[in-house]
């Protein structure tokens, strides 16, 4: 947007829109040109100046960005409202709108001023300096390991238990395997031709778990021996005793 144009020396403000950061910036600079406190500026005069400025810019065939024209239209509207007889219905009133514009200009001006004051302070690294070659501080985090005596012994017990598992397995589980049952039933039934109850083939035990296991494997053994033709199995009805005897044809 910046334009190199032959400007008349008496121009107070350069007719270069590129110099402004938008319409509000231009307005603020025009307001400052009134050389009074921003709270005292004449909004009407400001509107005049803005519109004149844009007209001047147009006369130099400058391209004028849309936002400058929008502002111009709004200001022209504000101006007409301020000059016309008051309409009590209008909300917000033209005076209220003018006051808001004034406040906005004051706000921007205040922040511009504040920025300049900040930049002018004694700044670290430009005006004041921290130590050039600090030794530096180090905070080393060190783990304070914690374990109790109980943890230690429990861990050792765990290790030992893990490394000697076989011993426990055999001692704990009371089971008559199928192979053992086949051998036992086969030996006991021998060549007897009279019927005997399955339970009579079981080993004597006080352990109910082992007895259950022995009963199950002996029953399976009886079925297996019957399949091979070594024994005969008979049951008179559901839940009746299971009877077992050697098969006659099998006799030597």
């Amino acid at each position: 947007m910046a334009a190199e144009l032959p400007l008349r020396a008496e121009d107070e403000l350069q007719l270069s829109l590129g110099a402004w950061e938008g319409p509000l910036d231009l307005l603020l600079n025009l307001a400052r040109a009134q050389k009074v406190d921003l709270a005292q500026i004449s909004i009407l005069q400001l509107v005049e100046q803005y519109l004149e400025y844009l007209t001047g810019a147009r006369a130099f065939k400058l391209e004028i960005a849309a936002d400058y024209l929008v502002m111009a239209a709004w200001l022209a509207y504000l101006k007409s409202c301020l000059l016309l007889p008051k309409d009590p219905q209008q909300d917000p009133s033209p005076e209220e709108l003018a006051a808001r514009l004034q406040l906005r200009l004051q706000r921007l001006d205040a922040m511009r001023e504040a920025g300049a004051r900040l930049m002018a302070r004694d700044r670290l690294g430009r005006d004041v300096f921290a130590r050039g070659a600090p030794e530096g501080l180090r905070l080393v985090r060190k783990a304070a390991w914690q374990a109790t005596a109980f943890d230690l012994y429990a861990a050792y017990g765990t290790v030992r238990a893990r490394s000697a598992p076989v011993v426990h397995m055999v001692a704990r589980r009371a089971v008559l395997t199928l192979e053992e049952a086949i051998e036992r039933v086969s030996a006991l039934v021998g060549a007897r031709l009279e019927w005997r109850r399955l339970e009579s083939f079981l080993p004597v035990t006080q352990d109910p778990q082992f007895r259950r296991s022995a009963l199950a494997s002996s029953f399976a053994a009886a079925l297996e021996l019957a399949r091979k033709g070594h024994v005969e199995v008979q049951q008179d009805g559901p839940f009746a005793p299971i009877m077992l005897r050697a098969r006659a044809a099998n006799m030597p």
Partner: protein
């Protein structure tokens, strides 16, 4: 004779690469009354070529401001901020936490992409959560390093902040009103 603990605090602050909180100091200097030691040191260094200052709850030594003319010539000028960035920084500092829309409402122009980036890269501005309002806009605030760089003990030290607040110039900005009345689609210059 300086008290052993005060010496320890002095040495810790001298050796540190960064401003330290009293807790940081205690972690190195050991048990003692850090506050009292700091006050003692600040007084001792008052008027010397080096002084002890507090910046946002952190303490550090720095050269006295009135000696800037002697020291400045050896250093290259730190980053020069554009007018847009300077204004944006001031708006954030005086209004924080503040949204981008609020910054734009005050400045009357859209904020160019790089402006906030430059301030964050310098370590002076940080995102500070979101406002619980429609759109949940991201908010910006200044940092510890901002206070340190500009020599401010806290935000209360911002030049003229009390007067500006009293004049109502730091009141919350009505973003919607601003856009309605002074619509500006313009780019930043």
């Amino acid at each position: 004779m300086t008290a052993p603990f005060t010496r320890a605090v002095e040495a810790t602050l001298f050796a540190s690469e960064e401003p330290l909180t009293p807790d940081d100091i205690a972690a190195h200097a050991g048990p003692g009354d850090v506050r009292t030691a700091l006050a003692e040191l600040a007084e001792h260094y008052g008027g010397r070529g080096v002084e002890l200052v507090e910046r946002g709850g952190r303490w550090h030594f720095q050269t006295a401001g009135d000696l800037a003319h002697l020291l400045r010539r050896t250093r290259e000028e730190p980053r020069r901020l554009s007018r847009a960035a300077t204004e944006t920084l001031a708006i954030i500092a005086y209004h924080e936490p503040v949204s981008r829309a609020e910054i734009e409402a005050i400045r009357g122009v859209q904020t160019a992409k790089g402006t906030l980036d430059v301030l964050m890269e310098a370590g002076w501005v940080r995102p500070a959560g979101r406002r619980e309002a429609p759109g949940r806009p991201l908010l910006y605030a200044t940092t510890q390093a901002f206070l340190g760089h500009f020599g401010l003990q806290s935000r209360r030290d911002l030049p003229g902040i009390d007067d500006l607040r009293a004049a109502g110039l730091l009141d919350p900005v009505d973003v919607s009103l601003g856009q309605l009345q002074l619509e500006s689609g313009g780019e930043e210059g």
